[in-house]
Structures are given as structure tokens and as C-alpha cells.
């Protein structure tokens, strides 16, 4: 602390500099610069803020002290997913995105910021290979926004209002999409069957006024949609667009939706090289075919390759900049602003490191561990799988047979240092495994859950007439929670 106030972040608080600059502009004090701010609007007191830590070492002690109150998923065995996933982030990814040059740049031109343009063009290109589509945007905020925009694109293109929602969707995502699109679109829900789309039911609802069919795969419960091509064909028959929301993590082994008729593929890139960050590191992608009808509806920036004055040299720039709100204000498509570029660079580095074999190996380990976890948990007496679909990474278990409520299981296992999953209704729990979840971790969960079920079963057996969680009770399907409970 110094007197007068000099701060390392503000060089011209140095008294001599400040005085010299005031003199240079002929001002007696900084007050002069605020001549246009009416006196009655001027704050006549200091802001009422906590005492600061101007010495860096004190700031560090304070913030580290706060963060030390957190108990992370390194210390807790976590089976939490539901939108944020615990995948391994290679060190090179963090090294690259933490480079000052990338971290602190913004919206420079293709010349002095050639590296940023190339890195983001490469992100688009790498995602495009994974998704087998020709066009991918510079990331928007998150998968929620990407999906809302993708559906809006379908609405704007077609002028139709109906959207058929064919899959189970994360409640928060649905909340965001609904509020965002409601000016343009009406969402209609076609109940899923056994975790995936009811293709017949869907077909019966399709008509010429349908703008889009919206499929999520993996769905909110991790179920993979195996009949996408049929859905696409049915949608296309009535001139509707197939919008597929997805997580790209599985496409080293899974067929990309574009190869099964998807017109717009969208989702979140958090799985591709981003830490969990308490849910604070998401980015949204929207992929389409190289069709100007679709491309011109995209609000995000699209970086493209261009020639330069030097033959053979690659330059970069904005494709069809005049789509955007930068150029057109309210006449542009939605808007473009600071979104998630750095996360896009991260995802690009991730895919470059993983390569085709890495993504294949990863997809396989995810499928294998998911299947293993399903089997291990379903072997517990009273625990059943929520459906019979093929799952990637997430799946639900139904605990009603064991007389357990989902929230009770969460409470009980938290006491053992385990986050067993996210309740999706009274008796169903959404369990997530990744390549970070080892066989031993899964075995630990199933052992703890089995022990809990056994205890409860015994307790229930001793008090079966009065216990409301009686395993013999009929399972009642509860409404899907609109918000995560925390």
C-alpha cells in the first residue's frame, strides 16, 4: 500500500505521470473529464466494497483460502455428468490456451492475428472431420445456445413454427431453448420409448408445417439414437430439417449424424479438452453442409481460407461477414459477440493430439465402461436399468426395486465421499462414467450401492407395512425436474 495510491495495474497512478498528463491536456483535475455527468448522478461517497488486498501475496492468500474450501472431484469419486463431463485434458491443450498470445488477444485482423484465424479455422476443420460435415462455426456460448440457434435457423429458413422434440432433453437446456425460440417456434414433445425416439409416433406427427425434428443423441440419459436415418427420411419427406444435438466425444467410433441425414448438428465442446470448471467452460458448435441456405442463417463468425498476394500462401478471413450483427445490427442473424473462441482453440488442439486412433480408443473405452457400469449396477438386487437403449457415458438406474429414493442415495453415498449421480426423478439416478472412471471406481460405487440397498432392504423387510420406499410398491413415473437439485 502506498500513499498516494499507486497500483501495479495502473501505471499512471504514479504521481509524476499523472501530473504531467493533466498538464499536457490542460486539466486541473480528472473531475474536468466528467463535466457531462450531472452532479446529482455523481456518487458522493466511496463504493462500499470489502477492504482490498493490494499486495499480490495477500490477494493470493485470500483467494486461495477461499478456493481451499472447495472439495473437488479429485477428492470425491464423481459419477456426475448431466451436461458437464470429466474427461482428461492433455497438458498440451492447457499449455496452448494459456499462452499469453492467445489468452489476451481479441478481435484483431487476419494479419497481426494470423495465428488466431488459423487456429480457429483448424478447429472448424477438425470438428468437421469428426462430424463429417463441411461447415462448423467459431464456437458460440454453449450447447444450449447452439441448439437454440440451430432450431431458429430451421424456423427462419422454413417460416414454419412446429418443432418436434423426439428425445429426452436436459431440463436446463430445454428451458433455455424454449425461451429463446418461442418468438419463432412451438416445441412439441414426442415421448421417448425405451430411452430413444418413438419413430412411429414421430412420423404420425410430421406434417408440412413442421420446421424441424430435434433429436438428442446421446440423449439426456446417455441413450444413443440408432434409427436416425429413418427419422431423417421422414422429416425430409415433409420438408422439415433434422436438427441433431449431440456430444462429439463418441464419433471416433459412432456414425456421425450427417451420414444419417442430419441437416444441422449442434452441441457442446466441453468434453473436448476443457476442464469441468464448476460448469463454467462450455462452447457451442453448429455444423451444417456447405449449403448457402443454411450458412447464411448462421449468426456466428465463420473463418475461411483465402488466397493472398503470394501464390500458395494461406490467408484467412470472415466468410460472409454481412450475415452478422456486427455488419447489420438488427438485420443480421441473431447476434455475434464474444463467445467461446479460446475453448474452440482448446478443442482443436485436443482433436489434433487425439487423432483418429485416440478418438477411436476413447470411444471404445467409454462404451466399454458404460456397459460395465450398467451391468455392475443392474446386478444389485432391486436396481434396474432405466431402459434398454445403447448408452454412451451416461445411463439411468431405477432404484425403486430396492426401496431407495434417488435423493436418499445421493445423500447416503456423499457421506462415503461418492457423488453417485444426478437424480432425474424420485427413483431414477443418472450415472456418468468416463475414461477417468476406472473399473475400481465403478466397483466401489456398486459395492457401496449394494450395501446401501441391502441395509435398506433389511430395514424395509422389518417394517414393510409402513415404509413408503417399500420395494414392492409400484413405480410411479415422476415429473422430470425442471432444474437440477443441488
Amino acid at each position: 500500500m502506498t500513499d498516494p495510491f499507486v497500483h501495479p495495474y495502473i501505471p499512471n497512478t504514479a504521481p509524476k505521470s499523472k501530473a504531467a498528463m493533466l498538464a499536457a491536456v490542460g486539466a486541473a483535475s480528472v473531475d474536468e473529464f466528467y463535466a457531462d455527468v450531472p452532479a446529482e448522478l455523481r456518487l458522493d461517497r466511496p463504493l462500499d466494497l470489502p477492504t482490498p488486498f493490494t499486495a499480490e501475496q495477500d490477494l493470493v492468500r485470500h483467494v486461495e483460502g477461499l478456493l481451499a474450501k472447495n472439495v473437488s472431484t479429485r477428492q470425491r469419486l464423481s459419477f456426475l455428468g448431466a451436461g458437464t463431463y470429466h474427461h482428461y485434458v492433455p497438458a498440451v491443450v492447457d499449455e496452448v490456451i494459456n499462452r499469453s498470445e492467445f489468452l489476451t488477444a481479441y478481435a484483431g485482423e487476419p494479419y497481426e492475428d494470423h495465428g488466431r484465424f488459423q487456429a480457429l479455422f483448424q478447429y472448424q476443420s477438425l470438428m468437421a472431420e469428426l462430424l463429417a460435415m463441411d461447415v462448423v462455426n467459431v464456437p458460440t456460448y454453449d450447447g444450449f445456445q447452439a441448439t437454440a440457434t440451430a432450431l431458429s435457423m430451421a424456423g427462419r429458413m422454413s417460416g414454419r413454427r412446429r418443432v418436434l422434440v423426439a428425445s429426452d432433453v436436459l431440463p436446463d437446456k430445454l428451458s433455455k431453448v424454449r425461451d429463446f425460440v418461442r418468438v419463432l417456434l412451438d416445441l412439441e414433445f414426442v415421448d421417448t420409448v425405451d430411452g430413444v425416439a418413438d419413430v412411429t409416433g414421430l412420423a404420425s406427427r410430421l406434417a408440412e408445417d413442421v420446421a424441424a425434428v430435434w433429436v438428442e443423441t446421446p440423449s439426456r440419459t446417455g441413450a444413443l439414437e440408432a434409427r436416425l436415418q429413418e427419422i431423417a427420411d421422414a422429416a425430409h419427406d415433409v420438408g422439415a430439417v433434422l436438427v441433431v444435438g449431440t456430444d462429439p466425444i463418441g464419433y471416433g467410433v459412432l456414425t456421425p449424424p450427417a451420414e444419417q441425414g442430419a441437416d444441422i448438428v449442434c452441441g457442446d465442446i466441453q468434453s473436448l479438452g476443457l476442464h469441468q470448471w464448476f460448469g463454467g467452460a462450455h462452447g457451442g458448435f453448429i455444423a451444417v453442409h456447405d449449403d448457402p441456405r443454411f450458412i447464411m442463417e448462421m449468426p456466428s463468425r465463420l473463418f475461411g481460407l483465402a488466397t493472398t498476394d503470394v501464390p500458395g500462401e494461406y490467408g484467412f478471413g470472415d466468410v460472409a461477414y454481412d450475415r452478422t450483427s456486427f455488419a447489420q445490427r438488427e438485420e443480421g442473424k441473431e447476434w455475434v459477440g464474444t463467445a467461446a473462441a479460446l475453448w474452440g482453440i482448446a478443442a482443436g488442439v485436443y482433436l489434433a493430439l487425439m487423432g483418429p486412433q485416440g478418438m477411436r480408443d476413447l470411444g471404445e473405452v467409454l462404451l466399454a465402461r458404460t456397459r460395465y457400469a450398467q451391468r455392475a449396477l443392474a446386478e444389485i438386487p432391486g436396481v434396474a436399468l432405466g431402459d434398454r437403449a445403447v448408452h454412451l457415458r451416461e445411463f439411468t438406474i431405477d432404484l425403486s426395486g430396492a426401496g431407495l429414493g434417488a435423493a436418499d442415495v445421493v445423500d447416503a453415498l456423499r457421506a462415503e465421499g461418492i457423488e453417485p449421480g444426478v437424480p432425474v426423478d424420485q427413483h431414477q439416478l443418472l450415472v456418468c462414467v468416463t475414461e477417468m472412471t476406472s473399473q475400481r471406481d465403478i466397483d466401489r460405487l456398486s459395492a457401496e450401492l449394494a450395501a446401501l440397498a441391502a441395509r435398506t432392504g433389511n430395514a424395509a423387510a422389518g417394517a414393510s407395512d409402513t415404509d413408503p420406499t417399500d420395494p414392492g410398491a409400484t413405480t410411479v413415473s415422476a415429473p422430470i425436474l425442471e432444474e437440477q437439485s443441488a
Binding site: N12, E32, P38, V92, G108, F180, G252, W277, G332, E364
Partner: protein, 506 residues
């Protein structure tokens, strides 16, 4: 560096990182899960990602990073409206702890007390800074925050039964374009007001535009010209007079921290950009972070979930009935929230006021230097001070030499500087907008002005050098017409290969 596109660096069989193996116990239990996938789910051809050793991937991206000009490397005052300030390195160190990166948002709140406290405290500090009653940190950028502003306004009017009636939003041409764009996306008709002859927002024009159809005014202040609207309270009052709400885009708040507050002028909702005013890095264009402040009347409409304090514990509450719901996953851009918290805690009330005052001093000092350059001008409010930035014009120089602002901006890159010219529509001709913030020393501002002066001299003496720039960059003048032609644009490598070489994607 003459660094190829990454696909050109692929060598079959190389690996960048290996994935953990499937345990024998898992393998035995589940068999070959890939070959057992149902028809249609199993990918046939592997994705044509590059195959590269780890060091080559690293080297490639490190070289690309060196071909980029971050705020840490240059005098980054040319992105006016963007508030390119110092993002302290200590904050980077603080956030990279597993105690933050390895937190899942659905963990037991008892295990998340540190991050929840930071979210809550950051909201409270921003409430004090804006004067608002409640603050939400959910939105992931400034434009997203503007969206939340209008979404809350829409919900408010609907809750009051005026949703159908109020179909118009009024903004000004020197407010950020996302105000207009987000209002449009929310279904409103947008009315854009132009300034008066002096460049001040035109109160009379506002009054003419207001009506019972008005849902809200959405304005930036100071506007992107750096001019503060002295009648801002009258604007708000006039909006309230017709039952409209007033929404304050505080993207340009850097010069008024601790000087004047949104709520004190009567605004109902406002937002800050944490990546502008509160020192989080701009990250090549995100993640940013927004903060939405609202009056008590609007508080029920805030997005959820909310972090609340109960005694000395912090809890998570689901959004209420009237909430616009989730606007993004979970709690917002956590790394930026922690950075912004740390930034404010490093400065305090006195420091934030010093930020504002020095940012404004720097701006007025720079304005004096720039206006000494023949050919440069600062349209509007001649002779008046500006707040934190100035939208300048090279119109005089253009008339003399034919050299455009865009060409000058590109030439500046040869001097390790740059500025951004996308200020559509060009109400100010040949525009450039400089915002020096509080982060640069007098010597650096002098250096920047000297570069502009030198280029202006070149424009007169050697215009060809300016027009054919850049001369000292890794790339040369790029043919942007490629990028507007659907036959030639190439948004991905696979599209480029297909269009230029007729390859099917490998």
C-alpha cells in the same frame, strides 16, 4: 514461421496422446463393444484427423501463438469499445487450481463453499458498483447479457399482461449493435435514434419515439463515441413515463466506476462485461462473461439457479416461477467470475475509482496527441472532453490521400500495433476508435500516437506503402472476395480440398 495447415503435418501412425486402456476385467465382462454396436451406430471410415507426435502438435500451436498479437504483447488500445486492459497474471495462477478446474457443478454445495462464496460476493460487489438490488452472473458474454436483459424485460411485460402491447425497443446508433440485434431476436421491432448535431443522444427524438408500444429503451452510456449522455436520467424518466423499462448496456463502464451508477439514474436493468471492465482476458473472442443487474422489481425474472447466503453457508436455489429460466449451463463462466472477483479484490473502492479516473485521463491525453496528427479528427462535441474512448475519423486524410482507415489499420500491424474498424454503419466516416484504458503508461500512449502519425505521414508521402500493407507480417494482403463467394469460400479444410482439388474428404 511459415506454418502449414495442421492436416498437412499428418504422418500415418504417429500419436499425440494415448488413452487409458480398457481393464481386462472390463473387457472380459463386456466383450467387444464396438463391433457389437447396432447397425448404423458404428462408424465406418475413421475421421480424417491428423496423426502427429505430441511435440509437433505443440510446436505447431506455439508457432501459431507467436503469429498472434495478444494484449500482453502490444499497446492494445485499438479495439475501442472493447476495453483491452491488463488481465493480471496472478488471477490466471489462482484459477488454475484443481480446486476450481476439477469441480463439478452438481457436487454437494457443502463441497463447493469456496466457489459459491466467490459467486455471491462478486454479485454483491457488482450490485454496489451498479447500485442495483440483485445481480446474476449466468451469461457468458456481453451480447448474451443483453439477451438476458431483453428476455427479462419481455417476461416482465408478459407478467403484467402487456406482452402483446409493447412491441418496440428503442436504441441509439452509438449503442452496441447487439442491443438492436438481441431485441430483434426476442421479437421486437427496433427503433434506432441518431444523435443530435453535437453528437449527444437526442432527447427530443427519444420522446417522439416513445409510446405505449415501447417495451424498453436499451442504451449504452457513455456511447461508443466516448460521449456521456448528460440527460441520461431524463431518458430513463421519459421511458418510465410511457411504462417502458430502461436497460443500460454498461459495456463502456470503465470510465465511470465509482463515479456514477446505473440505478442512481433510474435504470431497471443493466449489464457489465466482466471481460471488458473487470479485467478478464479476452481469449481470442471468448469466453467472456456478463453480469446482469436488476432492480428489486425485476429480480424475480433473473435467470436461475441463484446462489444465496444462509448464515455463513452458501446454498443453491432453483429459479423461481417468474424466472426466465436457465440461460446457460449452471452458474456462468466460472473462471471469469473468479478472475473478476480477484481483480476487484486487488483494487478495492479506491482502486476502482483510480481505474476510472486514469482510464479517462489516458483517453483525453491520447485524444490530444491524436488530434495533433494532420488528417485525424474526433467528430461531434468539439472541444469537449470524452470519457473512456473516442471514435475518431480519418476522413480528412482520406480526402487528401485516398487512403482509408482500414488500410491504415492494416499498416499499423507492421509497427506491432493495430486497430479495429468494424463500426458499421459508418456514421462516422473512416472511423477508428481508441480506448486506452488505465493499463498503459504515458510512454506507451505516446508510442501509439507516434505510429499513427508516422502512417499518416506515409499516407501523404508514400501512399503505396500504406495501401499494400502488411509488409512485415507472416501473411500478405489477403483476397477477401474469396470469402463472400459460395463457390469459393472454404470454411473447413475438407471443403477446401473438395472445392479446390476435387478431393472427396479423405
Amino acid at each position: 514461421w511459415d506454418e502449414p495447415i495442421i492436416f498437412e503435418l499428418s504422418t500415418p501412425g504417429e500419436r499425440g496422446v494415448l488413452v487409458t486402456g480398457i481393464e481386462p476385467g472390463v473387457r472380459d465382462a463386456v466383450g467387444d463393444v464396438v463391433s457389437e454396436l447396432p447397425a448404423g451406430l458404428r462408424r465406418q471410415a475413421p475421421p480424417a484427423l491428423p496423426e502427429m507426435g505430441q511435440m509437433r502438435v505443440l510446436k505447431h500451436y506455439l508457432r501459431l501463438s507467436q503469429e498472434n498479437l495478444g494484449a500482453d504483447l502490444n499497446v492494445d488500445i485499438g479495439q475501442g469499445t472493447c476495453t483491452m486492459k491488463y488481465a493480471p497474471k496472478v488471477n490466471e495462477q489462482l484459477i488454475r487450481t484443481p480446486g476450481l478446474t476439477a469441480m463439478h457443478p452438481l457436487q454437494d454445495p457443502a463441497d463447493a463453499q469456496g466457489v459459491l462464496e466467490i459467486v455471491w460476493q462478486t454479485e454483491r460487489m457488482l450490485a454496489e458498483i451498479s447500485g442495483m438490488d440483485e445481480v446474476s452472473l449466468h451469461t457468458q458474454g456481453g451480447s448474451a447479457a443483453i439477451w438476458s436483459n431483453i428476455a427479462m424485460i419481455r417476461a416482465f411485460h408478459e407478467a403484467n399482461g402487456e406482452g402483446e402491447q409493447r412491441r418496440e425497443v428503442i436504441t441509439t446508433i452509438f449503442s452496441h449493435p447487439s442491443n438492436a440485434a438481441a431485441a430483434k431476436a426476442a421479437g421486437y421491432d427496433v427503433i434506432t435514434l441518431y444523435p443530435d448535431a453535437d453528437g449527444y443522444p437526442d432527447l427530443e427524438a427519444l420522446k417522439r419515439a416513445l409510446s405505449p408500444r415501447t417495451a424498453a429503451i436499451m442504451v449504452t452510456n457513455p456511447e461508443d463515441t466516448g460521449i456521456y449522455n448528460p440527460a441520461i436520467k431524463e431518458w430513463v424518466d421519459a421511458a418510465h413515463g410511457v411504462g417502458a423499462l430502461a436497460s443500460y448496456d454498461q459495456a463502456n463502464a470503465n470510465g465511470i466506476l465509482g463515479i456514477t451508477r446505473a440505478r442512481d439514474a433510474g435504470f431497471d436493468v443493466c449489464h457489465f462485461n466482466l471481460h471488458k471492465t473487470f479485467g478478464t482476458p479476452h481469449a481470442c473472442g471468448g469466453p467472456g462473461a456478463g453480469a446482469n443487474g436488476v432492480s428489486a422489481a425485476l429480480a424475480p425474472f433473473l435467470p436461475g439457479p441463484r446462489v444465496a447466503r444462509e448464515g455463513d453457508r452458501f446454498v443453491v436455489r432453483e429459479a423461481g416461477e417468474q424466472s426466465i429460466g436457465a440461460v446457460a449451463p449452471f452458474f456462468g463462466v466460472i473462471p471469469n467470475i473468479v478472475r473478476a472477483y480477484s481483480w476487484m479484490m486487488a483494487l478495492g473502492a479506491e482502486g476502482l475509482r483510480a481505474v476510472a479516473e486514469i482510464a479517462v485521463l489516458n483517453n483525453n491525453y491520447l485524444m490530444k496527441k491524436v488530434l495533433e496528427i494532420p488528417g485525424a479528427s474526433a467528430p461531434y462535441a468539439t472541444g469537449r472532453r470524452r470519457i473512456e474512448q473516442v471514435r475518431y475519423s480519418w476522413q480528412d486524410l482520406f480526402e487528401d490521400t485516398g487512403v482509408t482507415s482500414e488500410e491504415i489499420g492494416i499498416r499499423a500491424s507492421d509497427f506491432g500495433m493495430h486497430y479495429w474498424t468494424s463500426h458499421h454503419p459508418y456514421v462516422v466516416p473512416q472511423p477508428f476508435t481508441l480506448e486506452p484504458t488505465e493499463s498503459y503508461s504515458m510512454a506507451e500512449l505516446d508510442e501509439y500516437a507516434a505510429v499513427l502519425a508516422e502512417i499518416a505521414r506515409e499516407a501523404r508521402d508514400d501512399a503505396e506503402t500504406v495501401r499494400t500493407a502488411p509488409h512485415r507480417q507472416t501473411v500478405h494482403h489477403t483476397h477477401h472476395d474469396d470469402l463472400d463467394d459460395p463457390e469459393r469460400w472454404a470454411i473447413t479444410w475438407r471443403a477446401y480440398q473438395r472445392k479446390y482439388f476435387g478431393d472427396a474428404a479423405a
